[in-house]
């Protein structure tokens, strides 16, 4: 019995030991030329997606020149609500949702389509915990910038024809299998959204993927980049006018990025964004 008392005393002494408190550093934004491509799997029926979207908006507010966002309303939880005016689903969004497996649930976010080791250990590609998304953005920003991507566009508001050229300027020699993707997203769309069980009828949807001008998983672009030698690719696209109120040129953004798809990689090296109408 004496031994037990001694042992209990030792345990209580252990518990009473105070550890040195950690210091939470003040936020200091990372200075980087990289532009991180963030895609979020979402849906109007997804109760936790407004939290994910708000988190991404906060991250973009911290890094306005370094983050571009695409919200993919693919298959799961993306069917319009009874209160919905619009259907954000489209074929490219559905293809991307399948392409981006494995993910655990919505919202899930991807950061330059990097396969992070700790997620892979859990059999995942998409990151479900929105509280940690800023960390992943910053991890990407801390990597060296290897390329600049520029979007050059001309848009005729009468014919609604868009000519878009993507220029990639490598900052070092790189080899691989490079693909270019060009996406059109739309913001400031007011429509219904589930928010933890409550339907918000006038929710502001931003960065909604409307169409992918290239193949949904990109078009072949190059297999070799030589430092300071830019490569370009041009596309022509007519912005639809379906009379629903969507496809408002004032609210459309053009997103472009270059990915290295060599082997198992889908890593995006650099992204860019321009508004359709300045």
């Amino acid at each position: 019995m004496k031994n037990i008392i001694y042992l209990l005393a030792v345990v209580f002494m252990m518990i009473s030991c105070e550890e040195k408190m950690v210091i939470i550093p003040e936020f200091e934004p990372i200075d980087s030329g990289k532009v991180v491509y963030v895609e979020e799997l979402t849906g109007v029926r997804c109760p936790n997606c407004p939290t994910g979207s708000a988190r991404l908006e906060s991250i973009q507010a911290l890094y306005p020149d370094n983050v571009v966002i695409v919200a993919i309303h693919g298959i799961d939880l993306a069917k319009p609500l009874d209160e919905s005016k619009y259907d954000f689903r489209n074929e490219d969004a559905a293809d991307l949702e399948i392409f981006l497996k494995d993910w655990l649930g919505k919202p899930s976010a991807y950061f330059n389509r990097e396969r992070f080791q700790e997620l892979e250990a859990e059999g995942l590609w998409g990151h479900p915990a929105s509280g940690q998304w800023q960390t992943y953005v910053e991890r990407e920003l801390e990597k060296p910038q290897v390329m600049e991507v520029t979007i050059v566009k001309t848009f005729d508001p009468i014919t609604r024809v868009l000519d878009v050229t993507v220029a990639a300027l490598p900052l070092e020699n790189i080899s691989g299998e490079f693909k270019v993707s060009i996406m059109l997203t739309e913001s400031d769309i007011i429509d219904a959204q589930d928010d933890v069980g409550n339907i918000i009828e006038e929710y502001e949807h931003n960065h909604v993927l409307r169409d992918v001008i290239t193949n949904f998983d990109g078009d072949s672009f190059a297999s070799q980049f030589t430092k300071d030698q830019a490569q370009t690719k041009t596309y022509t696209y007519t912005i639809p006018d379906d009379g629903t109120g969507l496809w408002n040129p004032e609210h459309i953004e053009i997103i472009a990025f270059i990915a290295n798809t060599e082997g198992e990689s889908e890593e995006i090296l650099q992204a860019a964004q321009e508004h359709l109408v300045d």
């Binding site: 037990i4 950690v22 497996k101 649930g105």
Partner: protein, 554 residues
């Protein structure tokens, strides 16, 4: 070092085999093998699609081979695990890996027992610590480390352990240490004996720097008012006791967890823009009180259980979620149902806020007739209903010739919480069921089951029927079907007309048993549903295909 120990164990096992052949009395060699093999037959109508297995891999499976050897006070074992395009880790994705899933060596040295390797163990009912394995959910939380147990006396035992929690073929971050003192006391007189089995346990988890940095990276993005200061060390303690007096057994356990940074997905968080979102790290202490009282005398058996849980999410790494990294195990507080329909909606244990109680009464009216009644109620600490079940069952046995079981289950199930499904109402079900067993002879029997689940929610109402022929000791044949008799809007729909369909989900199966070997082959179409192991549950998608499983003990 670990590789060396693995090789040493393999060597000892091989040596054990050889020595067993030459001298049978030198040791005991035992083991078991379990394997699953699934063929995935895509059926987009029932949403059995869009996973790698349905799209391109077509098959998947798992296997576990466990070998144990005991000799001269040593117990040792090694387990080979294999996953080939398996859907166990995540039902919507594919997992492939293989290797040594477990090894251990255990030795009794006088009053000491020393064990190293991957160790399964628990303290009390597991509320502060449980290292366990559940293959249907691919949970294997064994501790890679060392454990020492010392017999203080015949009735008192003390143990201590330390290590890292296993995850697949690696380990989760964080060092877990703990110990307990458990004993037995006999009080009272011979006529009215009272026995006590008291115990006290402690657990400490220390985070590593990488995990802490992830938490800090997260917390530093919070507005000033919502920032917390995470700590490296978390301490848990529990005190428990089983009191036995005549026909009464009373178990009680109280547990406390010191404040740590744990992620609460329901906690409001203010974004820098002022928008309020949900989900953030909080730092509050947690507690659980759990008690179970059983009474059995003659024809009557009564069990009462109650549990209060507040903020008791304890993981090897607070950045993990769902079923990952759980260090403890909180007992579920509902009846374990076995019929297909009565088990369709099962509540997962809630670790942050739960108030639950359950009563179970069994009574044998005559030799032929017995009955039971069960009631369970689970709410949040704020009083929101999570689960309620009322079940009554009567069993009539006619000699040894036939047996008829009839019952009625009434349920309320908070699908929004348990399955994280938006906009879904509380599921209310009424499920009558019948089970008839007829024995033609000692070896030949036939069993029929029928159940009807009436509900307006989720997929609507169901009818289930099963016929099972047993030809002991080797064969069992089964045929069953689950029929969506009143489909709802959520049921699979006709792609052309959009009408909800009355779909039949059939199962055909055969089981062959030969001594300690069991083989099962089943053709299955199965609607999505909850799969639970203890109180740990997850939503499994629909399945369509063929399942083969075998197990063998030797």
């Amino acid at each position: 070092m670990i590789k060396f120990i693995r090789k040493a164990i393999w060597g000892l096992l091989v040596l054990g085999c050889v020595s067993q052949m030459s001298a049978q009395d030198q040791g005991v060699f035992s083991g078991n093998f379990e394997s699953n093999f699934n063929v995935f037959l895509r059926d987009s109508l029932i949403n059995a699609n869009n996973t790698p297995q349905y799209d391109r891999q077509l098959t998947g499976g798992e296997a576990w081979l466990n070998l144990n050897y005991s000799v001269k006070g040593f117990n040792m074992g090694v387990r080979f695990d294999m996953f080939n395009n398996s859907n166990l880790l995540n039902p919507t994705s594919s997992y492939t890996d293989q290797g040594i899933g477990r090894w251990f060596i255990n030795k009794q040295i006088n009053k000491f027992n020393v064990e190293v390797g991957y160790i399964y163990d628990q303290i009390g009912s597991g509320i502060i610590y449980r290292a366990w394995e559940s293959r249907p959910l691919l949970i294997d939380n064994s501790l890679l480390g060392a454990k020492v147990t010392y017999d203080l006396s015949e009735d008192w035992k003390i143990k201590g352990f330390s290590g890292k929690q296993k995850f697949l073929f690696g380990e989760n971050a964080g060092i877990i240490k703990g110990g307990s003192i458990e004993g037995y006391l006999s009080l009272g007189s011979e006529e009215s004996p009272i026995s006590l089995s008291p115990g006290i346990g402690f657990v400490n988890r220390t985070l590593n720097d990488e995990t802490m940095n992830l938490i800090i990276d997260n917390v530093k993005t919070y507005i000033d008012d919502e920032r917390i200061k995470p700590v490296y060390n978390t301490y848990l303690t529990s005190i428990f006791n089983t009191l036995s007096y005549k026909n009464i057994t009373w178990y009680v356990e109280g547990a406390y967890k010191s404040a740590e940074a744990s992620f609460d997905p329901t906690e409001p968080r203010t974004e820098p823009s002022g928008v309020v979102t949900f989900g953030k790290f909080r730092k509050d202490p947690g507690s659980i009180i759990y008690s179970s009282l059983s009474f059995a005398k003659g024809k009557l058996g009564v069990t009462l259980e109650g549990k209060r849980t507040e903020n008791f999410d304890f993981r090897s790494d607070p950045n993990l979620s769902l079923n990952r990294g759980l260090v403890n195990y909180i007992p579920p507080m509902n009846r374990f149902n076995t019929y297909r329909m009565t088990a369709r909606y099962a509540p997962a244990t809630q670790v942050l806020s739960e108030l639950a109680y359950q009563a179970d009464v069994r009574y044998r009216f005559t030799k032929k007739i017995s009955g039971l009644a069960n009631y369970s109620n689970i709410t949040t600490l704020d009083g929101d209903l999570l689960y309620r079940e009322m079940l009554g069952e009567v069993v009539y046995k006619y000699k040894r010739k036939w047996q008829l079981t009839g019952g009625l289950q009434i349920q309320k199930y908070n699908q929004e919480v348990y399955e994280v499904k938006p906009e879904v109402p509380l599921v209310s079900t009424v499920t009558p069921y019948l089970d008839f067993l007829y024995k033609f002879s000692r070896k030949k029997s036939i069993r029929f089951e029928t159940q009807y689940m009436s509900t307006k929610e989720d997929f609507g109402s169901w009818f289930f029927a099963l016929a099972e022929v047993g030809l002991a000791p080797h064969w069992i044949f089964e045929a069953s079907m689950m029929y969506n008799i009143t489909p709802s809007k959520k049921s699979p729909q006709d792609p052309e007309t959009g009408e909800s369909l009355n779909i039949v989900y059939p199962t055909l199966g055969v089981v062959y048993v030969n001594k300690a070997n069991r083989f099962q082959l089943r053709y299955v179409k199965q609607v999505e549903g909850i799969v639970c192991s203890g109180g740990i549950c997850r939503l499994e998608p629909a399945f369509s295909g063929v399942k083969f499983s075998m197990s063998s003990n030797f």
